[in-house]
């Protein structure tokens, strides 16, 4: 991948959207692993004294695979490490330990010059469409910036490509010279999406892309993401806390709690029959838009999320789990394979 010359890069860009059909990238069949995380750990320093420094255990021993062309969702409550994991996977943050294989190639510890060629294939869309666009740059400049960075120096050529992208994401071309504050939240998110697909990436990390949007706008953006994926064979890592949105967009789901994985599996199977107690409570807790499903006494999770500075020993979930047994307090559960599912629990639900 890194041996691809700049000319070839430019070629790909000129052809814009056509690159998935022209043979450079075969249509994904969903079986090839695009990105693989191996026992990733990310810790942040959190004060303490010099003798006893404290660390936040943001991501603990996470291994997962993202297949080409699929949407893998990372779900969990705030502070469970899903955003950190997303950023570590494309090396916006360096992992404390563990490895990341991109198309079979180790990218942790790779030299920056070498990694630059790969970085363009991994893009990210951020949650807050108000904070993620530079207020002093016009839409044309914002979307064109990655093109400029990766060598499209000719201004006219760049403008043509930006206009093409704007059309792609549904922003009228006459807005080329407008500034972010002149747009609504939904339109800004479209600008962020245009910027992310400008370099024809393979993998896009969508970090809560619709949670700041209103319901009617949310569905527009979700449809757009799905269309783009179909057209360009994109692979998404979709980070969200909204389980109904995840159900709509994801092929597979990975549920996280306090930095570690609880359960990974196909969306339909996982929603139909959660095996980890946490998944079940999470699904139970969603307010459903149907008053007939209202239940008098709902089975609710008690308590709060423990601190990631001093995570509980053994299973991370044991302080809130109603089925807790002695072993859960002592030993970290190993991976149980049930069909295509992977569950990290001593006593998976039957």
């Amino acid at each position: 991948m890194s041996s691809r010359s700049r000319e070839e890069d430019m070629e790909r860009q000129r052809e814009g959207g056509a690159f998935s059909e022209n043979g450079i990238l075969p249509k994904p069949d969903g079986k090839k692993v695009l990105l693989e995380a191996r026992q990733l750990v990310k810790e942040f320093p959190a004060g303490g004294t010099r003798k006893k420094p404290q660390v936040v255990h943001a991501v603990t021993d996470v291994s997962l695979k993202i297949y080409e062309g699929e949407t893998l969702a990372l779900v969990g409550e705030s502070g469970c490490g899903k955003s950190t994991l997303g950023r570590v996977l494309i090396r916006l943050l360096e992992p404390t330990s563990g490895g990341i294989l991109y198309q079979g190639q180790e990218i942790v510890g790779m030299k920056e010059a070498e990694f630059a060629g790969l970085r363009r294939e991994m893009q990210i869309i951020f949650q807050d469409p108000y904070a993620s666009l530079n207020p002093r740059m016009s839409v044309g400049e914002i979307i064109g910036e990655p093109l400029l960075t990766y060598g499209m120096k000719d201004r006219k050529e760049r403008e043509a490509r930006v206009r093409e992208l704007m059309q792609e994401v549904g922003i009228a071309q006459e807005f080329y010279n407008r500034y972010p504050h002149q747009f609504s939240g939904g339109q800004r998110q479209r600008i962020g999406i245009a910027r992310a697909i400008a370099l024809n990436p393979r993998l896009i990390i969508c970090d809560e892309p619709v949670s700041a949007l209103d319901v009617s706008i949310q569905s527009q953006v979700l449809n757009l993401l799905k269309d783009l994926q179909e057209r360009y064979g994109l692979t998404y890592l979709f980070i969200s806390h909204d389980l109904s949105v995840v159900k709509f967009i994801a092929d597979r789901v990975c549920v996280m709690f306090l930095g570690s994985v609880c359960e990974i599996g196909d969306t339909d199977e996982l929603y139909g029959k959660p095996l980890h107690p946490y998944t079940r409570f999470l699904l139970n807790a969603i307010p459903k838009a149907d008053p007939r499903l209202r239940s008098k006494e709902k089975e609710l999770l008690s308590g709060e999320i423990p601190s990631p500075v001093n995570p509980p020993p053994g299973c991370r979930f044991h302080t809130r789990c109603p089925y807790v047994k002695d072993i859960c307090r002592k030993e970290v559960p190993e991976c149980h394979k049930v069909g295509k599912r992977r569950v990290f629990c001593h006593f998976p639900l039957g």
Binding site: S219, I249, P287, E304
Partner: protein
Amino acid sequence: MSEAIVLDIRNLRSHFFTAKGEVPAVDGVSIQVPPGKIIGIVGESGCGKSMTAMSVMGLLRYPGRVVGGSILLDGRDITHLTKKELSQVRGNEVSMIFQEPMTSLNPVYPVGKQVREAILLHQKMGKDEAKARVLDIFCAVGIPEPEKRYYSYPHQLSGGLRQRVMIGMAMVCRPKVMIADEPTTALDVTIEAQILQLMKKLCEEQGTSIILITHNMGVVAEVCDYVYVMYAGKVMEQAETFALFEKPSHPYTQGLLKSIPKLDEKAERLYTIDGVVPNLLHLPKGCSFCTRCDQAQKRCFVERPCLYETAGSREAAGQGAGCQGQASQEVGSREAGCLEAASHGVRCFQYEGGGKLDE
């Protein structure tokens, strides 16, 4: 009828006088709140749901002000109270919870003292007695170790606990109405579910009515008794919760419900309402939803629809109140008031056959 309704908002209009022109943020909103019920106001951002609440609380600030209509709290108009009178109502008879519990608590005082302040301001009570009362309410809202938490500062509490403190503060004077403005939006789902259940429990136990402002249809379906759907400063549809979800009548409500991804079905694409919420300065001439409506006729672009009553809504409301309202049986005489609030109204010409509910 009016004695059965705790809070009666009639044709409320609040405008903002900006340099660019007059913005009708709340444009003729009527909401009836029966005792001990949870009323939901749903809508997207900018539809005027928060401004309605702020108007009730007398919290509108320059350049906004209430320009018309009345707000009757137990039959007494509170729109034109003096500052002094208002501060006796606020926090005492009507209280409010805000979306972000961090910004609405004072960071430099322990939370217990902040809750106690509410009691000392409104009731003749000694400090020790007030403290005991605070500890009681902390227990009631499910704060573990209340004795210890009394002296905690807001930053030492988690988001869920802070929101519980806020609810405690709002409930401590046993108000008649509590307005909750997006109380669970900043919380995680498992905590959200806990808080919603807590609010429902308090509402039943203490007979406090709650106005719950939210953008989440799921939250509405979960806890509300009646729903008002707002759009561009107007109530588009009002109904008893079961009736609304069973038969959403306004094209906007239908669109909203269809565009939420469902947990129990796998859709290839989501339904979308095209376009964006119109600028309140340049509202369309006719129905404010006409530019985005998929059922719009020529007439919708020229004339403004009233709130019409749907056919058969009275009977449906009667059944609804009968089958699920033990509360309404207890209050007996208030039954009629509940029915009034439950009539299913839609602001759309398709329902012109029904009687007008406003204008």
